[in-house]
């Protein structure tokens, strides 16, 4: 069963949605900016502007000046919100501790995520950031926007929030930084009913799923990452908005093992596009790489002279499984040994391409916890075909997995920690997957795969007398 939108996607027109005129949007000169001082003294924040990188302090000052110059009644929260934010930051630098109070009962009606309550604990000193709630806006798949959409979003946030935003949070969301409780519902209404734009996930929810640019732009994509991300985001709306998990849960979709959204490092459930058949080789193009007619890595390293391209040094000897070699001037790959690391394909994209029998690999349990250190996700399902609406995936993988985690997971325990605690074998049992030798990386330190009596022909009970007929004492 696939998700069916209740209404057609509208084409947003900034001219219809805009709140500010061009004059209001461009309401200060460079000269004014140069001479502008915010109301608080912020020497340490100022210092941050001095380095070689663009600074958020410089951006915030522009926004502060912009708000100074807007007319009364053109902003629904305090004009000085940005100045107070910088003022409090300066105090935090002085004290070496934060002055934000975390958490609370804020949100939009019926949603248990998408809004994160933040309050200043110096409200007398910085009244316009007494409330400074964050809203997470679910980014479009692969973060493709129209400028009409972006400009409409910016106007809305200028009007009803601080105007400060962050593109993008690490789950991918567009982050609106700082507004008052009264503004949450009006913003939610505008986003949902006018812009057809949902909030993202926070708290013990399914977090906003995110995907790489996929088939929209990338020739290496083995799956339609955007289609999967869209379908699973909509299909699991309840999990996204109404928290009942022990902790957060993330889906990320990469079209190939280059892993541009770093699903392997950041998702409880990482989907990585792969192929089952052989790497496609164009021997002629390969000769052109060897002969120097085609630049390796599509010319990405041409800024410096690295010498003549050496296929042995740069590709064959770097293959992590040593499964490739030249025979009679032709490149040969022993594909059953290839781990799909993408290295050879990245270096010589015109000579080598992923195979045609494509699908995805699923890995579980990445997390970056404070106590135990970062953990990558573990390869568990080597190959699944990507077949919309992904019923097989939903019914046989995602839902049994969630049932197990909701049942057995402790409060604030990520899936990866549950797998560590109960063992990968338990996970395999839940998913009904047979163990493979490759899952046991180091038998000394990793969980063993134990056989159960029912898996062994005849079970564990044997007649010792029978054994003794063949092995004398």
């Amino acid at each position: 069963m696939a998700f069916e939108p209740k209404e057609e996607q509208k084409e947003l027109k900034y001219e219809e949605l805009r709140i500010y005129s061009d004059e209001e949007l461009n309401n200060y000169t460079d000269e004014e900016l140069k001479n502008f001082k915010i109301k608080h003294d912020i020497p340490m924040c100022d210092e941050l502007e001095s380095g070689p990188w663009p600074s958020f302090v410089a951006d915030a000052k522009r926004e502060a000046l912009h708000r100074r110059k807007l007319a009364d009644g053109r902003m629904m929260i305090e004009r000085e919100v940005v100045e107070d934010m910088l003022g409090q930051l300066e105090v935090s630098f002085e004290h070496g501790e934060t002055h934000w109070k975390h958490g609370g009962i804020v949100g939009v009606f019926g949603y248990g995520g998408g809004v994160i309550g933040r309050y200043s604990d110096l409200q007398d000193q910085f009244p316009s950031i007494a409330h400074f709630h964050t809203m997470r806006v679910n980014q479009p798949a692969s973060k493709f926007y129209t400028s009409d959409y972006l400009r409409s979003l910016c106007d809305l946030w200028e009007y009803r929030g601080s105007g400060l935003m962050n593109m993008h949070g690490s789950t991918g969301d567009i982050i609106f930084l700082g507004t008052f409780t009264e503004q949450l519902e009006p913003i939610f209404y505008e986003l949902g009913h006018v812009m057809q734009q949902d909030l993202g996930g926070s708290g013990s929810n399914l977090r906003t799923p995110s995907c790489c640019i996929g088939k929209a732009r990338c020739e290496w994509s083995c799956i339609d990452t955007q289609a999967m991300c869209y379908e699973l985001t909509h299909f699991y709306q309840d999990e996204l908005h109404r928290p009942a998990f022990p902790y957060k849960f993330k889906f990320k979709f990469d079209g190939c093992p280059n892993c541009c959204v770093a699903s392997i490092a950041r998702a409880d459930m990482s989907y990585i596009g792969t192929w089952r058949d052989n790497i496609r080789i164009d021997q002629e193009a390969l000769q052109a790489y060897i002969g120097g007619e085609i630049l390796p890595n599509a010319g990405a390293h041409k800024g410096k002279d690295w010498g003549k391209f050496d296929i042995n040094k740069e590709v064959i000897n770097l293959c992590p499984t040593r499964c490739m070699g030249m025979e009679d001037g032709k490149l040969m790959i022993d594909d059953k040994e290839c781990t799909r690391c993408m290295h050879c394909i990245n270096v010589m994209p015109r000579a080598l391409k992923p195979g045609m029998d494509t699908g995805f690999t699923i890995l579980f349990g990445a997390k970056a916890p404070i106590l135990e250190g970062a953990q990558m996700s573990t390869l568990t399902i080597p190959f699944m075909q990507s077949e919309p609406p992904y019923d097989n995936l939903k019914e046989n993988v995602i839902e049994p997995l969630w049932d197990w985690w909701m049942e057995e997971g402790k409060n604030r325990e990520r899936l990866g920690e549950l797998i560590q605690r109960q063992g990968i074998q338990k996970l395999l049992e839940i998913l009904g997957i047979p163990p493979m030798p490759q899952m046991v990386k180091e038998p000394r330190s990793n969980p063993y795969i134990f056989w159960k009596a029912e898996d062994v022909p005849g079970g564990f009970e044997r007649s010792i007398d029978d054994y003794r007929t063949r092995h004398a004492r």
Partner: protein
């Protein structure tokens, strides 16, 4: 559904804590109704949220549930 809702409210009222994890709420319901599925508890909790009897409490990374009006209020 009504009996699950009641079990949740009983737990919430008796609880010494003003906010609690979904997991603990689920365990409390299961004491009264041993065969209940997590999804059914979630549906009932969502209904109570919609009826404004329960509220979500979120730190940003974790979400808890609380009885409306008890403990922390909306303004803090």
């Amino acid at each position: 559904m009504d009996d699950i809702k009641q079990a949740i409210l009983d737990f919430a009222e008796k609880s010494k804590k003003t906010k609690f994890y979904f997991n603990d709420m689920e365990k409390a319901v299961r004491k009264v109704m041993p065969d209940i599925k997590a999804r059914a508890v979630k549906k009932a909790a969502t209904a109570l949220i919609n009826e404004e009897k329960l509220v979500y409490f979120s730190t940003g990374s974790t979400t808890m549930y609380g009885l409306k009006g008890r403990g922390q209020t909306e303004d803090h």
